[in-house]
Symmetry: C2
Subunit: 123 residues, 2 copies
């Protein structure tokens, strides 16, 4: 049974309020402001649990995992110069999905696209 705890709520609120894509360490820091004393393990455990429940989303960019409040499917654009990460939509046309099936035999259940380039500021 999944229980309601102050830590869990605080962690969820922090992610939901964040308008960037915080890493676990950043979530940890922000949670400290609200609820000092929360341990790293708790933050990691809850981020993983919340992601599993679909309340938040995990994104792996390079060597760190970042968390995202959005729960709807979306993709990411990463700036090659400043590293900024922004949400974008990259819909895959059904003929592309069909082509993947033909190439690989995979029954496609989901997809995620990472686009790289230069953000508006870095251009």
């Amino acid at each position: 049974m999944i229980r309601q705890t102050k830590q869990r709520q605080a962690i969820l609120e922090v992610v939901e309020r964040s308008h960037d894509h915080p890493t676990a360490a950043q979530v940890y820091e922000r949670v400290q402001q609200v609820l000092p004393g929360v341990g790293y393990a708790t933050v990691y455990r809850n981020l993983a649990a919340l992601a599993e429940e679909g309340m938040i989303q995990e994104i792996r960019v390079g060597e760190v995992t970042q968390y995202d409040r959005r729960s709807d499917r979306h993709d990411h654009a990463v700036c090659g110069r400043c590293g900024k990460l922004v949400d974008v939509m990259v819909p895959l046309p059904s003929e592309v999905v069909q082509a993947v099936l033909e190439q690989s035999g995979f029954q496609v259940a989901g997809h995620h696209t990472e686009v790289f380039g230069l953000c508006a500021d870095c251009r």
Copy 2:
């Protein structure tokens, strides 16, 4: 100046001969067969160097980095059940790229799509 060493050659050959997508640890093991005594550091250093030169390709899947002999652009399909990773092509239609530009202001230089689902064997 970049020097030619037996280790470097062995590492490149191992990746080129591999028809799966070996992790650094797997490359290490396979190199041992050919050239015992090679250190982890050497494997990592050379994989990174070869990737930088564009001789091989680095793919980050979850928490490990895998290496791929293919040097042309391509995408990946990951099986959610057995973890198998296969190469596929997911071309992005120009109108999709255009839409990303409009959404984000990004000048798109490249992209990589990960498709998840069930492979032919796991279906």
